[in-house]
Symmetry: C2
């Protein structure tokens, strides 16, 4: 796309580096900003820059947090011995929204993915293993997505902690509540039969 | 969406003000920037801010341009008497890509749209009418999208210039080259029959 302005061209090139945003969308966004008052662009870029510069991570669980120890980790009513292992803040938000989890989290910051150049050393794995070794953690709940990368990451952590006295679990996979069986994929349906639960417990929270 | 960080929350709120970008996408983009080196965020926000601060518009056609008179308007081989009236730079880029138009453009900067609070005074209409009144323009080609807003804008301009000695035309609407008739909408197909062209001329540029 050749443009009549290098300024516009550079802005579009930068915006289209964002994941899922193509050149056409980037141009649409740039033209939108040009039509709006300068204020809007200043607020937008200011908020992004400030976030990137000043963001901090909880010392305990590595979740994004404005304070040194996040609200969840510093909450005395949460069970510090049950740790849910997740990829990023979106998973924490999703599980917190259920209101059903009373333990704490450990945010890895990603999954092991050689294709994307992400190895174990770039993730918060050492501190997790430490929590197991020191006996702080009594149960780990693996809640990474069930992809090859998720499984690889789970297994990498598992190998380092399997000899310690700890309960290991994974979130249940199965047919979503309200979904019809006939539309479920075979792997999910198969798992939901193998990992069936006692009927009485299936009535909880329904 | 409640987040564990006000910094993140504010950035997501700002990003999701962009058209077509919801809260979920905004969060994904913000987390992407947090995973990348600070450089990337600085380049992105720098390019956007610089564009918004320093952008200029061609004195003649009002298209976005880094110089006072854009490349098209200052090109001596272009016919200054044939003016194609378009909405914004995307239309200019699309028509330029065909390589078939040798006239110049007049960029309105939008369409009349009372719903969006855009009246004629916010568009570059006065200078267009001036070009007609002074006799600089011999033909205007209306190339706005055929929506209610486009038609309203065309008609608003038409009323002001209809008494002057000028050829008025509109880009041809019809079945796209290569498209099957059976899949065309009725309005388009109807127009393509009413505005049929001599067979010999239909062979050009095929």
């Amino acid at each position: 796309m050749e443009m009549s302005s290098k300024l516009l061209e550079r802005a579009v090139a930068e915006i289209s580096q964002l994941p899922g945003i193509g050149k056409r969308t980037a141009l649409r966004l740039a033209l939108h900003l040009l039509k709006q008052p300068k204020d809007m662009t200043e607020h937008l870029t200011g908020a992004i820059l400030k976030m990137r510069e000043e963001i901090r991570f909880c010392r305990e669980c590595h979740n994004i947090s404005d304070v040194e120890v996040c609200e969840i980790c510093s909450n005395l009513s949460r069970d510090k011995s049950v740790i849910c292992v997740v990829e990023d803040i979106r998973d924490v938000m999703a599980i917190e929204n259920t209101g059903l989890f009373k333990g704490i989290y450990h945010v890895l910051g990603g999954k092991i993915s050689p294709i994307d150049g992400i190895g174990p050393s770039q993730l918060n794995i050492v501190t997790l293993v430490e929590k197991v070794k020191t006996g702080v953690a009594k149960e780990l709940i693996f809640a990474l997505s069930s992809t090859m990368e998720g499984d690889t990451t789970n297994f990498y952590i598992y190998k380092q902690i399997k000899d310690y006295n700890i309960v290991l679990s994974a979130i249940a996979r199965g047919i979503a509540v309200g979904d019809e069986l006939e539309f479920a994929d075979e792997v999910t349906l198969g798992r939901s039969i193998i990992h069936r639960v006692p009927f009485e417990s299936s009535l909880k929270n329904s």
